[in-house]
Symmetry: C2
Subunit: 270 residues, 2 copies
């Protein structure tokens, strides 16, 4: 089922600024037994994005109700929410009207064999770089060509993810995930202030480890820093946590910190 | 009239990657007496963009025919062509299918009093910066949030354009135009290798001045370089050429080089 502005339909006006300029935001939410997981965290990021782009946010309660009503029709799935500035304005200049478009759709879960946690995954380093723009960093906006280009770099299905560097040679994230490094029992994750997305599972992990008195620092990380890590793992809302056992030619073990965090995530109530 | 994939309609599938990721390209073409101006140059850039993004290009002759048939229904207007990767693929990963979407629409010319050439225009310097990404530089892709944010910085209708710097402090372009500086009889324009769009009118001006033995160099330009110029002007396909007479607090005269180039453009056959 697809709800666009509260109506069951599957097409949008070609003039929508989401299409014309990528002028909008999205969220990708895990539906578990008909319930959207970490819904409030996703909505918080979505509304923060609206604020950052000065898009009139959709009515909070209406959006929440629509999300829950679409979620309840499925058991386990991915739900995608798109919010755009809608139709209007002259060229790039947005209009003052609030014509915000909201699109809620559900999709099958990606094929992710459950043993990827026990086996770990292979990751490559992408050639595509992330341009830096503090105004757009952190939010999940619709300008995703860098991710499309990066993901198109490989076809080998044994490689599950690619790491992206920014134009200053800092490691930022995966094409669809955030990165954590473990070194001497402490966690490090790239700071998301110039580019990249502040993932929901990234913030869940940060909260969890703080509650368990493990230190986590948001820092600038080079490829060398990553290579010197004891453990590496990736996070996103749909997969949860993936240990990295191979990064290009370097192997990593699935360490005790990664295992413990995985256990905490699985026990978490959302 | 709006033609989407050759059919008169105004809505597109919400799954179109143009909306989902800004995964596509566009052109904005001047229609003069029913004829698209510099059509082949626009199509060249569009097809170059398809190549760069590995989007299967629409059939050249079919697209050309559709553009001409829509153009012939109007006298003077703006025509917008959007080409997207269409529906398909898993997440960011594009599919191998060629489902390219093509959208051709016409719009009224913007209100541009003709005396803007004789009076010149006021230009501001935007706070929004352009992220650098050589893979995306030059082509007119659909990831335009930086331009939307930059254009939203001002509401004063006396200010006609804003200049954008990149994250390395180079002046790159206007939100919807390219910049030329004249210094000691020679032309300079920002090099478009890290970000920015290689405008059609920019290339027309470069060809014209070369034919008239005026040197033009594509260089890295700082705001100081711009401030030390004798003449400044902006170009785009719809407005042609706009002399800049005010940049923030600094005034510029409309110089002889700018006037001559304006004359050459007006005489040009397209």
């Amino acid at each position: 089922m697809v709800l666009i502005n509260g109506i069951e339909q599957t097409s949008i006006d070609y003039r929508d600024r989401g299409l014309q300029y990528g002028d909008g935001l999205f969220e990708t939410i895990l539906i578990n037994n008909g319930t959207p997981v970490y819904l409030e965290k996703h909505l918080n990021r979505l509304f923060l994005g609206c604020q950052r782009l000065a898009i009139a946010p959709p009515d909070h309660q209406k959006l929440r109700d629509e999300i829950r009503s679409v979620s309840s029709l499925t058991q386990n799935a991915v739900q995608k929410i798109i919010v755009t500035r809608g139709v209007g304005g002259r060229g790039y200049l947005p209009s003052d009207d609030s014509n915000t478009t909201r699109i809620i759709s559900t999709h099958p879960l990606p094929e992710c064999p459950g043993d990827l946690f026990t086996r770990g995954i292979s990751v490559r380093i992408c050639q595509t770089r992330l341009g830096q723009n503090p105004f757009l960093a952190g939010i999940k906006h619709l300008n995703r060509l860098e991710q499309v280009l990066a993901r198109a770099e490989w076809g080998d299905s044994d490689i599950k993810e690619g790491l992206l560097l920014d134009t200053s040679n800092n490691v930022v994230e995966g094409t669809m995930s955030n990165l954590f490094c473990v070194k001497d029992g402490q966690l490090y994750t790239p700071i998301i202030d110039q580019c990249g997305v502040e993932g929901i599972m990234r913030s869940v992990v940060m909260d969890l480890v703080c509650r368990h008195n493990i230190e986590v620092e948001c820092v600038q990380l080079t490829l060398d820093d990553v290579a010197r890590s004891d453990e590496l793992f990736l996070t996103n809302s749909i997969i949860g946590i993936w240990p990295v056992t191979q990064l290009e030619n370097q192997s990593f073990a699935i360490g005790s910190v990664t295992r413990e965090i995985k256990r905490w995530i699985d026990q978490e109530k959302f």
